[in-house]
């Protein structure tokens, strides 16, 4: 790196979206989808840091069975903040609002999203929602967990549930508007010749994600409104004393929050399809199957929510129905993994950093998905429900899956976004550190879970200590792994070598324009004449 610092590379003089105009106003009032993507990038990185700090304190605290750092009440606020921030303010907007915002119009050959001003509005809504949540944290925190289970959240908690609820409610509309924009854009603004079955799989994945965003999010929004009304007015929608049913809350909550997992992981799958094809120089194996499996996951994902409630007291009949439906959603995920494997088979595989993340995604997502089969199982779930087994499982999906995909995508398109290259050696090193740190953090938690350690415990029996210490050690490795890309991305913005329009020799419309792209993306509207991923030609 030292040799590169010596002389900042020559800046390309051509006008692009980054240097088209200057000043704070030109950013805060922009309607350019690429600039809005960068606004999102900065804000979600900020929230990732907050969520990450909370996670760090949690893991440090759990080194000792009696709790090393904080009071149990504080611990509860920490895991609540970690969950709320990471899910609603980092993972859900991560790929759609950053990479999706940047790439959806470019990949379909459009000049912008269908509604650029609504796009900017969605960022402001996100920021306002984030500010409410930050206020709640600074004013003393919230301790309901990200699940807001009633009647604890509606009646018993004396923390800032209302401000947090408003924050989550508001940010939900940001997600809805992004999804709405994508759906209309993908339907109405594709370049000439770009038929549905020529679309990159990234677009299919974002289409499926958008469907979940627009149909799921409003349900959690109204549910949060009901909690707020119950807290303020003391009416008893979820209060058993008035005949209310706490389980109704769980139904409404998980109707969104289970599909929300697919909002996080589907775009990641889209990214992986792009990376796998580019770095093995092969067209995707079974295009239609990968494309439709995204849609299938989006639809089936809505039918499985009550597997979060097998021990909550739902009827046996409902348990049976939701268990078998949960198994169905495993199939499209399996189809994707097998198709990716078939794609790299007999490919020409290169190991640039994005590909390492993609391969890491496949491995970790496979493990996350397969452990999901345990939780969908009525017989075994009774034992492992609400234990660390669940914690490990969903971190394999959300961090091992969604976050790996996000980082892979960021590394892949960073040259397009910034016009610069980052140091590849460091990037590969960081990918390795993250993979190892991740497994060290979360694999022991599977064992802890089957042993019976419940989640959300600030103190725990001493025989669980060894595994907890292993997990905490892994978390510190993981933290280092995340810090490295942050440093070299910032470094590369000024000192990175000029990338050129297509450093990976990738296919796809976004690589046919210059890096960074001009404000209108293309000099002239592209015309598509070939299938996606035509690497063989």
């Amino acid at each position: 790196m030292a040799t590169m610092v010596a002389e900042p590379p020559r800046v390309e003089s051509r006008v692009n979206y980054l240097n088209a105009s200057y000043g704070v106003k030109s950013w805060l009032l922009t309607t350019d989808h690429k600039r809005i993507a960068l606004l999102y990038l900065v804000s979600i990185t900020f929230f990732f840091l907050i969520g990450g700090i909370a996670a760090t304190i949690i893991r440090l605290h759990l080194i000792s069975p009696t709790g090393a750092l904080v009071e149990p009440a504080t611990y509860n606020k920490l895991f609540s903040v970690h969950g709320i921030i990471m899910i609603f303010f980092f993972l859900i907007p991560s790929i759609p609002a950053v990479l999706g915002n940047f790439l959806v119009p470019m990949m379909i050959g459009a000049r912008d999203l269908a509604f650029p001003r609504i796009n900017l509005l969605s960022w402001y809504i996100y920021v306002v929602g984030g500010l409410f949540t930050l206020y709640a944290i600074l004013a003393g925190g919230v301790d309901t967990g990200w699940t807001f289970y009633t009647p604890y959240s509606s009646t018993y908690s004396n923390t800032h549930v209302l401000a947090t609820g408003i924050g989550v409610f508001i940010s939900g509309f940001s997600s809805i508007l992004t999804g709405l924009n994508f759906i209309v854009t993908i339907h109405k603004m594709r370049a000439p010749g770009l038929t549905w079955f020529r679309l990159p799989l990234f677009i299919w994945a974002h289409y499926a994600t958008s469907v979940i965003q627009i149909l799921g999010t409003p349900v959690v929004a109204i549910t949060i409104v009901l909690i707020a009304l119950e807290r303020v007015l003391h009416v008893g929608v979820f209060d058993p004393k008035l005949g209310g049913d706490p389980l109704l809350f769980q139904h409404l909550f998980w109707f969104y929050s289970h599909p929300a997992v697919y909002i996080m992981v589907l775009p990641s799958m889209g990214v992986v399809s792009e990376l796998i094809t580019c770095f093995s120089r092969k067209r995707i194996f079974g295009y239609e199957f990968v494309a439709f499996s995204s849609v299938a996951i989006a639809v089936l994902g809505f039918l499985v929510w009550a597997h979060h409630m097998f021990v909550a007291g739902i009827s046996i009949y409902a348990g049976l129905v939701f268990s078998i439906l949960s198994y169905l959603v495993a199939i499209p995920s399996a189809i994707k993994v097998f198709n990716w494997m078939a794609t790299i088979y007999k490919g020409s595989i290169s190991y640039d950093a994005p590909m390492l993340y993609a391969l890491g995604f496949i491995g970790l997502f496979t493990m996350g998905g397969l452990t999901g089969l345990f939780l969908a199982n009525l017989g075994v779930d009774v034992h492992i429900h609400d234990t660390y087994f669940v914690v490990a499982h969903f971190h394999y999906i959300m961090v091992g899956g969604a976050l790996m995909g996000y980082l892979g995508g960021l590394h892949f398109w960073w040259p397009k976004i910034s016009g610069r290259l980052y140091p590849d050696k460091w990037a590969r090193f960081a990918a390795l550190v993250i993979f190892l740190g991740f497994n060290l953090t979360f694999f022991p938690q599977f064992i802890l879970g089957y042993l019976g350690m419940p989640r959300r415990y600030a103190v725990y029996p001493p025989e669980f200590q060894v595994l907890n210490v292993m997990s905490s050690a892994g978390a510190s490795v993981l933290a280092v792994g995340y810090a490295i890309p942050l440093i070299y991305f910032i470094w590369s913005m000024r000192y990175g070598p000029i990338a050129g329009p297509n450093p990976w020799k990738a296919k796809g419309l976004e690589w046919s324009t210059s890096s960074p792209p001009p404000t209108d993306n293309f000099e002239q509207t592209p015309v598509v004449t070939e299938e996606a991923y035509a690497y063989g030609d």
Binding site: L226, V235, D245
Partner: protein, 243 residues
């Protein structure tokens, strides 16, 4: 599938939309594309709205199925006359809204303004009836959960007279009654705001120069709010058994 999903605006309309008075935004290729995008966008937004109200309808369905007698007792405390009258008022406003859209399509500026104004007046009439003839008497009867739940002797007697009805669960009915009608009224207020915008815009003639998309999609929203009421009316007022 491409063919099947891609049927779009037919050519007579495409020509009408290609008017020189209106220039589409830079991201679109022509006026027709912009119109289609705006219309699809509103429909997708309405799907979101369906699910938003859907959460309330779902809660209502769950509790109604569990506490049928109490929900019927609560329903019979509502005034079916005002409910029906308000339904008629809202349907009339939908008619004037549809005529407003037609006026914009046929480029009749004055008719557009008159119909938008009529729509607003009918909307205000709906809210007035709701507020003065229903919510205020509800308050007097003490059947506003959370704010003023002190049911009068008649209410208590009415509930006690219905086999299986229990006061706390009638309160649950009124929770849903106020949440659902309140959320509906909130949407009406937003709708009135949109109508005001249309009225101001219509004065400049911008809506009758061929680019009638704003009127069309505002109309979609207004009709949707109407449809919500079409379901609220029987669910809240009627199926308690009036016989």
């Amino acid at each position: 599938m491409n063919q099947w999903l891609n049927d779009s605006i037919s050519s007579p309309w495409r020509e009408k939309l290609a008017t020189p008075e209106f220039t589409h935004s830079h991201q679109f290729d022509d006026n027709a594309q912009q119109f289609e995008a705006a219309s699809l966008g509103m429909w997708v937004f309405l799907l979101t709205e369906i699910m938003f109200f859907g959460g309330l309808f779902c809660g209502y369905a769950v509790y109604r199925s569990q506490y049928l007698p109490s929900f019927e007792a609560g329903s019979r405390l509502l005034n079916v006359g005002f409910g029906a009258a308000n339904t008629a008022v809202l349907l009339a406003s939908s008619l004037t809204m549809a005529l407003a859209v037609r006026a914009a399509q046929t480029r009749k500026g004055n008719a557009l303004m008159i119909f938008v104004l009529l729509t607003m007046l009918l909307g205000i009439a709906f809210l007035g009836i709701k507020f003065f003839f229903e919510w205020i008497p509800d308050w007097r009867d003490g059947v506003v959960p959370g704010l003023h739940w002190v049911p009068t002797a008649e209410v208590v007697q009415h509930v006690a007279g219905r086999a299986g009805a229990v006061l706390p669960r009638v309160e649950l009915f009124f929770c849903f009654y106020f949440f659902m009608t309140g959320m509906h009224a909130l949407h009406m207020v937003v709708g009135l705001g949109i109508m005001t915008y249309l009225l101001l815009k219509a004065r400049t003639g911008a809506l009758t120069s061929g680019h009638f998309a704003p009127v069309e999609i505002s109309g979609l929203y207004w009709h949707f709010v109407d449809i919500v009421w079409i379901f609220l009316f029987p669910l809240l007022y009627l199926i308690g058994g009036r016989y």
